[in-house]
């Protein structure tokens, strides 16, 4: 495992250097423009719907070639241009000082520099602009959303955040799991005995899985995505998959939203089309499938109008045009009923871990 460690350190440092170099280059361009009496400007890839396309090779959504110019020459853009320059400046500071910040924090920090954001959506937007310019996720420049997802399993990590450098920790030490936050995202993945990653949509089931020792029985690392997986969680799943070579399987509620949570882990969201490395293209959606509802005789609840509307929407998505993804949508539409993960409790609290999970894992091998 020694090789993977040095590799992880290397990639972490390379990534940091890459972002810093990018920021410095943009700073230099602005500096030179100002010095020569030219109006500095940024070219920002357009994030409008018409510019979001699905790339079959990368197996995720990407942005097309359209881009918009934000120029300090245009008076109506001067303010947002300055905001962008400030954010780049602030991100640079965060990275160099090894500090982290949240979206809300950014909104307030700006006020120290007379950079007035009218509200948080405005500052959030500027953050996405910077992401698009640098094609790097905000997490790379140390801006994190509120975290709520967690991970549990036999995985040793080594922190790289200031004050904890070199400190090791095993993620099976605390049964509530560990928050997938800034320090975990940047930690080195040192060693694991696990052979599998199970991403699960709900905190309750996550606790059940820990109680039932799923991590031991199936040699698994368990990740609670807490609904739609946050980007740091998707990034973490990708690292588990890429750096440790662990296959990722996903367990979600048996409804159209669950299916889409699995899809987003696998191939990203249109919202994050300007970013790479947030996907796990080989991840497998284990269930709950629409066909499982009948097969396992699960208690169901009827779909709402919006559930059904969502099915029609997803049927237009290029990723739902074939295979199981397409088929399950059709069955959902036929059933017009949905089943939550907890539905298995009808047949006993451990039914899901004793019966459903092993059967599904066996099936997944052939997927």
């Amino acid at each position: 495992m020694k090789t993977s460690k040095s590799k992880a350190t290397k990639t972490a440092e390379l990534r940091k250097e890459k972002v810093l170099t990018l920021l410095q280059n943009h700073g230099l361009i602005m500096y030179n423009d100002l010095d020569q009496g030219k109006f500095p400007q940024f070219s920002i890839p357009s994030r409008s719907v018409s510019n979001i396309v699905y790339d079959k090779k990368l197996r995720q959504y990407i942005l097309g070639n359209a881009s918009a110019l934000r120029s300090s020459k245009n008076m109506s853009q001067l303010r947002s241009f300055t905001q962008l320059a400030w954010l780049a400046f602030f991100a640079n500071k965060l990275i160099r000082e090894g500090k982290t910040s949240t979206l809300r924090d950014i909104y307030y920090s700006s006020q120290a520099f007379a950079i007035d954001f009218e509200d948080q959506p405005e500052s959030d937007n500027i953050i996405v602009d910077l992401e698009a310019i640098l094609t790097s996720a905000r997490e790379e420049f140390h801006i994190f959303p509120e975290e709520r997802s967690s991970v549990f399993g036999d995985l040793t990590i080594e922190y790289t955040v200031p004050g904890y450098e070199g400190k090791r920790m095993n993620l099976s030490d605390h049964p509530d799991g560990y928050l997938i936050g800034p320090s975990l995202s940047s930690a080195e993945l040192v060693d694991t005995s696990a052979e599998l990653v199970i991403a699960i949509e709900k905190g309750g089931l996550f606790t059940r899985f820990v109680e039932e020792k799923v991590h031991k029985k199936f040699k698994a690392i368990i990740v609670d995505t807490a609904g739609q997986a946050p980007r740091s969680t998707r990034y973490f799943l990708r690292r588990l998959n890429g750096e440790l070579g662990l296959p990722v399987v996903i367990l979600v509620d048996g409804d159209v939203y669950g299916e889409h949570i699995a899809m987003v882990i696998k191939s990203g969201s249109a919202n994050a089309a300007h970013l790479r490395e947030l996907t796990v293209p080989d991840a497998k959606w284990l269930g709950v499938w629409a066909t499982d509802i009948e097969k396992y005789k699960l208690p169901t609840i009827p779909m709402t109008e919006s559930d059904i509307k969502r099915i029609y929407e997803l049927q237009k998505d290029p990723r739902y045009q074939e295979g199981n993804w397409k088929m399950q949508l059709e069955v959902f539409l036929k059933l017009k009923r949905k089943a939550e993960l907890e539905a298995f409790s009808k047949y006993g609290l451990t039914n899901i871990t004793d019966k459903y999970l092993p059967e599904k894992l066996e099936l997944a091998k052939s997927l």
Binding site: Q24, D35, G37, S72, M75, L78, F81, F89, F113
Partner: protein
């Protein structure tokens, strides 16, 4: 003549356009200069314009419309105020039903760059051998089509002059705003880019602030 023939004759006479204007020498209008002087003295405005229309007639009675428009200065920003005069007498009551008010209210002021609570005063003087009052109180003038047309033409002429002034002033305001914006934001951009690029000295951006303040042809 029969009744029908009389009606026909009356119609034809009204349609005939080549009668000479009635002789206005019997009328005593103020004249543009005294009107303008009065306005300047009374309101001390930022802008004023006056017009005296040539004489016209309704039902055989000659009349002359004089009008002034004035903006800013000592005028309180309470929206459009109208001062009415008829044969040099101020009309104080019953403003709402007066033809001058009707003409002022029917004008689309936004087309003349007048919006909201503008400090704007309109002075109107109707001079005639017989003012068509609506009531015996002699406080409001009736909306005779001939009179209304003259008032409207006078007002539109003045409003156009005002619009020119307003857009000039708008541009001056814009230039000021632009200068403010650039002198606020450019130093900040300079500060951030210096830090980002790792340079020791800030770039020389004075040139750019000047340039930014001078751009004329941009829209917001």
């Amino acid at each position: 003549m029969t009744n029908e023939e009389l009606v026909k004759l009356s119609d034809a006479l009204q349609k005939f356009e080549e009668f000479l204007s009635p002789d206005p020498s019997c009328l005593a209008p103020l004249g543009e200069e005294p009107l303008s002087k009065g306005i300047m003295k009374f309101f001390n405005p930022e802008f004023a314009a006056v017009i005296q229309r040539s004489a016209s007639a309704y039902s055989g009675f000659p009349f002359v419309v004089e009008m002034g428009i004035t903006y800013g200065g000592d005028i309180p920003p309470k929206g459009i105020q109208v001062y009415r005069f008829a044969n040099r007498i101020p009309l104080l009551y019953d403003e709402g039903s007066d033809v001058v008010l009707k003409v002022v209210n029917e004008l689309d002021w936004t087309r003349y760059k007048v919006k909201g609570e503008t400090p704007l005063v309109i002075v109107s003087h109707i001079c005639s051998t017989r003012i068509p009052y609506k009531t015996v109180g002699k406080e409001n003038v009736a909306d005779r089509p001939e009179l209304e047309r003259e008032l409207k033409n006078a007002l539109q002429y003045l409003a156009r002059k005002l619009a020119v002034h307003m857009s000039r002033q708008g541009m001056a305001d814009m230039a000021k705003k632009r200068a403010n914006l650039y002198s606020k934001y450019v130093p900040l951009i300079a500060q951030f880019s210096t830090e980002l690029s790792g340079k020791k000295k800030e770039p020389n951006y004075t040139q750019l602030i000047k340039k930014g303040s001078e751009i004329e042809d941009q829209q917001i």
